[in-house]
Amino acid sequence: MQTPVRFEVNGNEVAIEVEPRLTLADCLRHHLRLTGTHVGCEHGVCGACTVLVDGDAVRACLMLAVQADGAKVVTIEGLSHDANLTPLQAAFRKHHALQCGFCTPGMITTAHALLSQEPYCDAARVREVLSGNLCRCTGYVAIVEAVLAARVAYQKNDGSGA
């Protein structure tokens, strides 16, 4: 059984028919070929699949594609440009906040939502929010430093730092 669903992904209208059981993560990755959203556990613990749904950080493995009907979805691809790295991406690179890169899109989408909503958050708050995203390479120290370093861009731009 296929169900029609319409939503916006990275500014583009999407209208497709999907199985009701299809997760938003699988829809983005395999139907829309937006493979920057990663799947690490499919039970909402690792956070690798985090995307923005109407501005909030959401686990795309715990949301069905049909539930995204009418929503505005932004993935790591939507937060990226060819020309430059965004302040968050540049900070991740500068602080060596990634190694294998698998958790990185989820970290950046989560951090973008946090800094957009709380551009003056402190280290403890960053750690609290990022505790929902697992990283096995970095030990998190550099990730927290990178997010703290990127705050200033969100403060200046009033939340539109990406």
Binding site: V45, C46, L85, Q99, C100, G101, F102, A123, E128, C137
Partner: protein, 758 residues
């Protein structure tokens, strides 16, 4: 090499980050092919039993299901996966078949594989397969059992390794002080964030099999696959894509590494398989489960005279490719960086009905450092010697290098520590944590929490031989491409190799147009990434290739100039200069591409070394430990990139903290895995351990390779269990509790305190 050296030693931002931070990495599940079929694997739900029958007819009849394969559809006999490291003949009977055919020996063992139009449909079809298993009693622990797991074997003991040095009996006979203790480390696992996966395609017209998703040791795995599947190696290409973490576990030859290419050949369509996290936790290599009973002999002044004892490792159901490494390392490295003149240690590898084990970052070393450093703190207390002073007295001195380790048997293996100043890293570590200022807090209660400090020393072996290969190509635009047999598993190899190649060729980083690694198409032979070998071995091979390529460039320029090659000078930046002021840019010399392959052979090991210190506070009412401060100091010889090395150390420390505090693969008495999700198997999160610091040093270059580098990927994890347990013991000295097992969960610590109070 040339001393230009602008790139090596610089904290250069990583090249691979430019794709990773944009979500443009290409991991195996990001790939697809026209006509792709998806695989799902039916796994045993029983730990031990006789496989009586499999009925897959109903599954085969389902719409969208393409086919189902069981062992009967594969081959008779079913292919066996050979051991890669330490393949002793005694171990062969315990190697794993690619699919269960008459017995199942662990929960998670493959029984059947389904191909369907989507992964979800393939998983649905698994439920339609009926399997009849006659359950047998499960063996979950080490030791003699009435239940033999392999019919042809009288015992479940696969092998006992021995580590011997000097005369232990004599040393103990005269020893003024001895102490005997039992310790244990729990089963846990590497848990890379990217799940395992493979995609395979058979091109019948060209007679070529391509397998994507390779990692770690693609050339070795190609050899196994070629033999099992009956193709020449040259007809198989293993492709290494971006890899989401390895840590020893990913990239070894697993049953699926045969099954997916095999079914792709059989059905003539591309097939992809991506495991889920539950599968991962029951199918990927486990590690670390070990118990030991060891005894130390010392003089009254704390000088170590001898170590003896036994360890037992729980190997799980089969001996996998590198399954023996952890066990042998436990006995070889129990002496660590210390002067131990007499050693007699044995480790017995017991087969059980749990998931098979393999290496996990710092295999055997994490375990044995916990045993040793715990024992040392007990001994220092008994002898009323300061814990730091005890270590100072026993560390191998720089003047004693190279220093022989115990010899391992069977197959006699000798090894020796290569170089370094172990005292120096210990002193730096004490200084960085502020030992002198904080030691007064030891055992003190402040606001209801008890504070404790500890420090431990370690060595890290690296640079396994026998060789590595690199190929450098001068491209028509004057840039250079680097091809290497080493594998990238997320450690930043592209950047480190670009730095090494840039310096060797005397060109800026921008002129290194790409670093291509892992895949079997890149070089003639490759040995991959394990035993902290990639930078040392691959990097040294790049130096050799660079020298050869520069000679070729000189020859080419000499021909243009009409002079002898010796008259040509290569100027930094990529210009060849000849007599009479003639000069020509490399780009003009490239022609159809100049290239050179270089190799590096090595039969010795590098030894990074250092010390870690921790400051904890413990709440005796809950058993909760707060890690207030943690300092890691390691000297890794010549540092290629301090930014990435620092990151490796911190990341490894936090993985080690997972092993010390959280991670535990728990089984019940029937061999059922009770921790099959990330809600049950806990790993460190961003809020758990905020205060981790690292200092990386490069004061003692390795004498055994032209780079002077030492393997550095594993040191950060090795001492963590020992230093944490010692800090907890120091904090709770008032209660006289001695942690003898990991993990130190709040309930475990609370129980230790309660028992001590009774």
């Amino acid at each position: 090499m040339k001393p230009n050296n602008a790139l090596i030693g610089s904290p250069i931002e990583r090249l691979e980050d430019l794709r990773f931070v944009r979500g443009r990495g290409e991991y195996v599940d990001d790939l697809t092919r026209e006509g792709l079929l998806h695989a799902a694997i039916l796994r045993s739900s029983v730990a031990h039993g006789r496989l009586l029958s499999i009925d897959a007819d109903a599954a085969r009849a389902l719409p969208h299901v393409h086919s189902v394969f069981t062992a009967a559809d594969i081959a008779n006999p079913v292919p066996i996966i050979p051991m890669r490291l330490h393949p002793l003949p005694e171990l062969r009977p315990f190697e794993q078949p690619v699919m269960a055919y008459d017995r199942v020996r662990y929960v998670g063992e493959p029984i059947a594989i389904v191909l369907a139009d989507s992964a979800a449909l393939a998983e649905d079809a698994l439920a339609a397969i009926t399997v009849d298993i006659e359950t047998l009693p499960a063996v979950t622990g080490c030791g003699v059992s009435e239940v033999p797991l392999f019919d042809a074997q009288a015992t479940n003991l696969a092998l006992t390794y021995k580590a011997v040095k000097g005369d232990v009996a004599a040393a103990f006979a005269d020893a003024p002080y001895t102490r005997r203790e039992k310790f244990a480390v729990q089963r846990h696992t590497a848990l890379p964030m990217e799940l395992r996966g493979l995609m395979a395609e058979w091109d019948a017209a060209r007679g070529r099999l391509t397998v994507w998703g390779a990692a770690k040791v693609p050339f070795f795995n190609r050899r196994i696959l070629a033999r099992q599947i009956g193709l020449p190696e040259t007809s198989i290409e293993l492709v290494e894509n971006d890899v989401g973490g390895g840590f020893g576990a990913r990239g070894e030859f697993y049953p699926e590494d045969f099954l997916i290419p095999f079914v792709a050949c059989r059905v003539g369509r591309p097939v992809k398989w991506i495991e889920d996290r539950r599968e991962h936790l029951m199918a990927m290599n486990h590690a670390r489960e070990c118990e030991c009973d060891i005894e130390i002999a010392c003089r009254g002044d704390g000088t170590i005279l001898a170590l003896r004892g036994h360890a037992a490792t729980n190997m799980g159901a089969y001996l996998r490719t590198n399954g023996a490494v952890g066990a042998r390392n436990i006995v070889q490295f129990m002496s660590g960086p210390y002067r131990v003149p007499n050693i007699d240690l044995a480790v017995s590898m017991w087969m059980t009905n749990k998931t098979p084990v393999g290496t996990y970052r710092g295999p055997g070393r994490f375990e044995t450092d916990f045993f040793r450093e715990r024992l040392f703190d007990m001994v220092a207390h008994d002898l009323a010697i300061d814990r730091v002073e005890f270590r100072r007295r026993n560390l191998v001195a720089a003047a004693e290098m190279p220093y022989a380790l115990a010899t391992i048997t069977p197959y006699e293996h000798k090894d020796e520590l290569d170089s370094g100043d172990y005292q120096a890293t210990l002193e730096h570590c004490l200084e960085d944590i502020g030992w002198r200022e904080k030691i007064g807090l030891n055992g003190k209660e402040i606001d209801g929490r008890y504070h404790g400090l500890a420090v431990s020393c370690f060595v890290e072996g690296g640079a396994a031989g026998p060789k590595e290969t690199a190929r450098l190509v001068l491209e028509p635009d004057g840039s250079f491409s680097v091809y290497v047999g080493s594998s990238a598993v997320g450690q930043g190899l592209e950047t480190a190799f670009a730095q090494i190649a840039g310096d060797a060729l005397e060109v800026p980083l921008e002129r290194i147009s790409g670093v291509f690694h892992g895949s079997t198409a890149h070089v003639s032979d490759g040995y991959g990434s394990y035993h902290s070998r990639a930078v040392v071995m691959g990097g040294s091979a790049i130096l050799d290739a660079a020298e050869k390529l520069r000679a070729q460039i000189r020859l080419e320029a000499a021909a243009r100039f009409g002079c002898a090659a010796e008259q040509v000078e290569l100027v930094a930046g990529g210009t060849a200069v000849g007599p009479a002021g003639k000069s020509i840019a490399f780009a003009e010399l490239a022609g159809d591409g100049l290239s050179a392959e270089g190799t590096f052979f090595n039969n010795k090991h590098t030894w990074g070394y250092g010390a870690h210190a921790a400051h904890v506070s413990v709440d005796p009412k809950t058993g909760h430990v707060d890690l207030i401060d943690y300092v890691a100091v390691e000297d890794c010889g010549r540092v290629i990139n301090p930014l990435t090395l620092h990151g490796q150390v911190i990341g490894a420390v936090v993985q080690g903290l997972g092993g010390a505090f959280l991670e535990h693969l728990v089984y019940d008495e029937h061999g059922q895995l009770l921790t099959g999700s990330l809600a049950d198997y806990l790993v460190p999160t961003a809020s758990d351990f905020p205060s981790i610091r690292a200092r990386v040093m490069g004061t003692h270059p390795s004498p055994i390779n032209p780079l002077g580098a030492k393997g550095a990927g594993e040191g950060g994890i090795i001492p963590v269990g020992g230093v944490i347990a010692n800090a907890v013991a120091a904090a709770l000295s008032k209660f006289d509790i001695q942690p003898r097992a990991l993990p130190l969960t709040p309930p475990a610590i609370w129980q230790l305190i309660e028992r001590a109070r009774q």
